[in-house]
């Protein structure tokens, strides 16, 4: 039996846990991170790689803006290329109502210093002739882009380890309790004493609510993804559509990655799969927008296991039942971009009990019975 004692124990080696480990080490705390498998092998490693600010809910704006400032220098922070490319992200409007929505969104974003370019249908056609005709307009976020999800969380884990974090893979945390002074955490052949505990267990985070007498309506979300054979590079922007039915982008080597709609997954056997029916539907919608996609061969498909919440916003903040317990999970299919900021936010929560970035909206208490009655604030469009 191995016994260790640290300032902070982190459950979950996804992008949230790993970026937190690095930030906490940089702040001088001792850190141990546990993943039941390999770091970045779950949602953080299989997502669509979209690094996107546009389309986010107003409450996520400060967080996404903070992350956007980190992404362009992330390769320096991590010491490796994570294939981040600011190719620009374009949301297409198919109707006047959609255009209006984009305008409203752009006005909101401007208040957070995110400047989206509104393009008319005609301009879209001129600038991006590969977009089909049915376009009423578009909104372009030039700072947005994509990165290689398979590289990012493992790179955070490596960097954290290089900074002295104790990163333990294949170490499932089985129990945790608060003694009044510290946490006692158990994994096979391992006992951990920690002053702080970070619940970054992704889709499995519910376990670390019930252990501490908390609850949230966390469910499973399995975004459906697939990729085509490589074809010569023509699609210069990442594409999404108002209404969210489908999103896609082309990587430099030529493959087109498409997503949207539900796949299939099972948390206990830890298996996710693409749903063929979803894929065929997604493809049809994509080909209506970009006719050149028609006839491309799909070579691979997949899905992943991600925590979902009814209002499509994560739970980030201090536990309400247990001191020194921090939750950061339930990113509802759009947490990849937030990851680099989330590490810093978690670090601030550990060190000061609060973050300089407003996160009150993500408090777990919003799911108390009366809070649930309140309607979801308008503007969330993912």
């Amino acid at each position: 039996m191995d016994k260790i004692s640290v300032d902070v124990a982190i459950v979950g080696g996804g992008i949230m846990g790993c970026s937190a480990a690095l930030a906490l080490r940089k702040a001088g705390l001792t850190v141990a991170l546990f993943d039941k498998g390999l770091c970045g092998a779950q949602a953080s490693g299989v997502n669509a790689g979209g690094v996107r600010q546009q389309g986010r809910h107003v409450t996520e704006m400060p967080m996404t803006r903070r992350a956007a400032k980190i992404w362009p220098r992330l390769h320096e922070i991590l010491g490796e290329d994570i294939e981040f490319r600011q190719v620009g992200h374009m949301r297409l409007a198919r109707s006047e109502a959609d255009v209006e929505m984009l305008e409203k969104h752009a006005a909101m974003a401007r208040e957070h210093d995110l400047h989206l370019q509104l393009l008319s249908g005609k301009v879209v056609q001129e600038m991006f002739p590969w977009v089909g005709r049915k376009i009423a307009g578009a909104s372009l976020a030039v700072e947005d882009g994509h990165a290689n999800p398979r590289l990012v969380a493992p790179a955070f884990a490596r960097a954290a380890r290089a900074h002295g974090a104790d990163i333990r893979e294949f170490t499932p945390v089985e129990s945790a309790q608060w003694t009044g002074q510290h946490f006692e955490i158990e994994a096979p052949d391992l006992q951990v004493k920690a002053r702080h505990l970070v619940n970054a267990a992704g889709a499995w985070a519910g376990k670390f609510l019930s252990l501490f007498g908390e609850s949230a309506p966390l469910t499973l979300r399995t975004p459906n993804l697939f990729v085509t054979e490589p074809v010569s590079y023509f699609m210069t922007k990442s594409i999404a559509v108002c209404g969210g039915a489908v999103y896609f982008r082309q990587v430099e080597r030529g493959n087109v990655v498409l997503g949207g709609g539900p796949g299939w997954g099972d948390l206990t056997i830890e298996r996710a799969r693409n749903r063929a029916d979803t894929t065929l539907g997604q493809f049809q919608r994509a080909a209506e927008l970009v006719p050149e996609l028609e006839g491309l061969q799909i070579i691979r498909s997949w899905s992943g296991l991600e925590g979902d919440l009814p209002d499509k916003l994560p739970i980030v903040g201090m536990s309400r039942t247990t001191p020194n317990l921090i939750h950061a999970f339930g990113f509802c299919g759009h947490g990849f971009q937030l990851g680099p900021a989330m590490g810093e936010i978690i670090c601030e929560l550990v060190c000061e009990g609060r973050s300089q970035t407003p996160i009150d909206a993500f408090c777990i208490s919003r799911f108390d019975t009366q809070a649930v009655e309140q309607k979801r604030t308008a503007g969330a469009t993912h």
Binding site: N274, A287, E294, Q297, I298
Partner: protein, 453 residues
């Protein structure tokens, strides 16, 4: 009870399974990607390019004709859909593609009879134009009646090697050399077990004597293969079992190293797999009567373990009988005799596997510069260097970092080799580095919006 019974594959296994079920009065659907029935061994040329069975199948002409006729005879009573690729199996439904149109086929029982394909191990020059697999060399002959080159070298690690060599000679093609990468003494040691089927041994010997009579050099224990040529094949060099270097001029090479079951469908259907030490590959777990670990899913033929054409016919019948049994028919009499016969084949097969042991030396000899995954351009050096950096303890992790197996073939060709390289580099046992997770589509499928069958 009316059930939908589906067979995927119309090779010897699928056809015999279908015939058995039709004889029992059941309705069924047979799907096959090929335009014509027969599978790999009894592959038929395209319509309009027919040639006599004796020319195509040699000593096996009778069996080939029997399989083709069997299907023709039951055709009025089965829903046979040639040219239909099955590209996914999930929650009791198959996704199919026929003539660019998508289809969904729910089933109650599924017999997987998808056969096998060539096992590939890279060697210098293996991606050059003019290098084919042995199976590819045979397909060229069977379906188009042409050899892969004017002067061909054949390389292998299994019974397909002497067979294809003799078929090429029969067809009048020039063979520069026949190179077996497994040792001669293994054959001697395995002979007794192979004698479980004396007729098979005789047939094998007749291929060898044909090669000898033609004056074609035949060598065993060959290692360190290297294709000569920059743009295309100009020759092949190798080291013989005494350590002498050889080189011959040729314009084509047919090389593969045994067979690998075509098991993605089983994987997508959720069947359990096990690691087979003898052949160093992952195989589906086959239970009594050819049953898989998933109720209602059965195996027939080479898709779950390599047995060859005769075993394919027998296991085809066996899978059908298991379907009947699971539907409540009393245990068929035939089954006992079938199992006895299969046991004899299994002894013979064990002999074959021992006669052609897995050529580890080819894996050990893979140089850093050698391309392992041609779709994504990943070399052996890339894989090894990534392990040093990332410590990837299993092959899906290595895939995730290096893209090995992410291209068109989805690791069908390179996945097993990547696992071997990772195991060797990490010092982990091969079973521990695992196998690539299966995802649909089984083969690349064109997406054509709005077309549904």
């Amino acid at each position: 009870m009316k059930e939908t019974i589906v067979i995927v594959g119309a090779g010897p296994a699928g056809v015999r399974a279908a015939e058995t079920l039709v004889e029992a009065g059941l309705a069924l659907i047979v799907l096959d990607e090929s335009a014509r029935a027969g599978g790999q061994i009894y592959r038929q040329p395209p319509h309009g390019a027919e040639r006599p069975a004796e020319k195509l199948y040699g000593s096996e002409a009778g069996k080939a004709r029997a399989i083709h006729t069997a299907l023709e005879q039951i055709r009025p009573r089965v829903d046979y859909r040639p040219g239909t690729l099955v590209w996914n199996c999930f929650q009791g439904k198959l996704n199919t593609l026929h003539d660019n149109a998508q289809g969904i086929l729910p089933f109650d029982r599924l017999i997987i009879a998808t056969g096998a394909f060539d096992r590939v191990i890279p060697f210098p020059g293996w991606t050059l134009p003019g290098v084919f697999t042995l199976g590819g060399a045979q397909i060229a002959l069977k379906s188009q009646g042409i050899a892969i080159g004017k002067r061909t070298v054949l390389v292998g690690a299994g019974p397909l090697l002497p067979l294809v060599a003799s078929q090429y000679l029969e067809a009048g093609a020039e063979i520069a050399a026949v190179l077996d990468v497994t040792p001669f003494k293994a054959k001697i040691a395995a002979l007794q077990r192979m004698m479980a089927m004396p007729a098979m041994v005789r047939r094998g010997l007749s291929y060898l004597s044909k090669i000898r009579r033609a004056g074609v050099p035949m060598m065993y224990g060959v290692r360190s293969l290297a294709v000569a040529g920059d743009r295309r094949v100009e020759g092949l060099a190798w080291t013989d079992h005494r350590g002498r270097r050889h080189q011959v001029a040729c314009d084509a090479v047919g090389a593969s190293f045994g067979l690998k079951p075509e098991m993605q469908l089983a994987d997508l259907a959720g069947c359990d797999f096990r690691f087979d030490e003898l052949t160093r590959q992952w195989l589906p777990v086959v239970g009594a009567g050819g049953r898989s670990s998933v109720p209602g899913v059965y195996f027939a033929g080479d898709c779950s373990a390599i047995g060859g054409a005769d075993v394919a016919e027998l296991t085809g019948i066996r899978a059908a009988l298991s379907v009947l049994e699971d539907r409540g028919t009393p245990k068929p009499q035939q089954l006992r005799q079938l199992e006895t016969e299969l046991a004899r084949h299994a002894r013979f097969r064990a002999g074959i596997e021992a006669a052609y042991p897995f050529p580890n030396h080819l894996i050990d000899g893979i140089d850093d510069s050698l391309m392992v995954c041609r779709c994504e351009g990943v070399s052996a050096g890339d894989l090894r260097a990534n392990f040093v950096k990332s410590g990837a303890p299993e092959v899906n992790r290595l895939k995730s970092f290096t893209r090995v197996g992410m291209g068109r073939c989805q690791g069908r060709v390179c996945g097993a080799v990547a696992a071997e390289i990772l195991a060797a580099k990490s010092g982990l046992p091969l079973p521990e580095v695992g196998r690539l997770r299966g995802q649909h589509p089984i083969k690349p499928i064109p997406l054509v919006a709005g077309k549904q069958s």
